[in-house]
Amino acid sequence: MHSVPSVRTYVIVWATLTFFTFATYYIAQIDLGQWNIVIALLIAFFKMSLVIFFFMNLKAESPLTKLFAAGGFFWMILLLGQFFVDYISRDWMPGGKMW
């Protein structure tokens, strides 16, 4: 129902994903302190975007589907955001206890 991406596109995406898999593996061997997790997550998010936009072909889906996909990530941010705010703020009450 949509334009069909070429085999070439898929192979390039696959090669990029494989490259970053080994990149994340080797970068983890270098001690970068706090930056290790930041770089690992950046690479993971980049790989996720490649899979979503090319393999799952989200860019060719209907606007409604795109809205739902974006909505999913919005709710995910709400879920995790509230979740972390709860844990971070638990020590803010006197005596370190909320109840």
Binding site: D31, A40, I43, V51, G72
Partner: protein, 238 residues
């Protein structure tokens, strides 16, 4: 984009796979795709909860998580990531073949996807077996000792916290492996449908939405690999 659309409309009346409550094949396809995305959103919430809990405990016990991660084998993890990415490529090519009506190629790519999916599960099985032999399965008595990591001299005092990471490890990779099993089952069904000659350039919705599921499971692993295997790896002696 407009040309395939009109081609679809032309054949719409003839397709035996058009359900009566849809106007045409395109509307049916878009509805099915949207429905699959909604299902995947519930899956994001499902795994998201586990990733959230993982983050909380990791920020509480960063040293214990880093040292415990040493007991996992990143080579297995990296190999499995590579295998899963290849399976995603073959899945994408299967969907492409279905769209272009290449039935032989579709069946070949589905079989390849299943082979890579099963290869992933086999490697995972070897890994689980290694953890069992190494006595690293949490909650089993006698399996609580995670202290033999010379890079982390204080590891011995983390034995209880260390179990938390292994609990997350088994829950998250276990649920992921369960999703892989379901995926292989889906591929079997799709392959049988393909062999019966159900799919055409006009109707390939089941291939498309199974592909979406397969890629989603791949994405979950893309995050599991660095978060479970590669913590504290910088201090590992290569």
């Amino acid at each position: 984009m407009t040309e395939p659309h009109s081609a679809v409309a032309e054949h719409a009346e003839h397709s035996p796979y058009l359900r009566h409550h849809f106007d045409n094949m395109e509307q049916q396809f878009d509805s099915a795709t949207l429905g699959m995305w909604v299902f995947l959103l519930t899956e994001i919430m499902f795994f998201g909860g586990m990733f959230g809990a993982y983050t909380v405990y990791r920020s509480m016990y960063p040293e214990a998580f880093a040292s415990t991660s040493m007991h996992m084998n990143p080579a297995f993890g990296a190999a499995n990531t590579a295998v899963l990415i290849v399976s995603s490529l073959t899945m994408a090519l299967a969907v492409r073949s279905a769209r272009l009506g290449k039935q032989q190629a579709l069946q070949m790519f589905l079989i390849l996807t299943m082979i890579f999916g099963i290869a992933f599960l086999v490697i995972k099985g070897f890994e689980y077996h290694e953890h069992w032999v190494d006595m690293k399965v949490p909650l089993f008595s006698g399996h609580w000792d995670y202290s033999n990591t010379p890079e982390f001299p204080h590891q011995a005092q983390y034995s209880h916290q260390a179990q938390i990471l292994f609990c997350f490890y088994f829950f998250m990779t276990g649920f992921h492996a369960l999703h892989m099993l379901v995926g292989v089952g889906l591929m079997t069904t799709i392959l049988m449908m393909a062999r019966r000659g159900i799919f055409s350039t006009n109707y390939f919705t089941p291939v498309e939405i199974s592909g979406l599921y397969w890629h989603f499971v791949d994405i979950v692993w893309i995050f599991l690999f660095p978060l479970l295997y590669l913590i504290g790896n910088a201090r590992k002696l290569i």
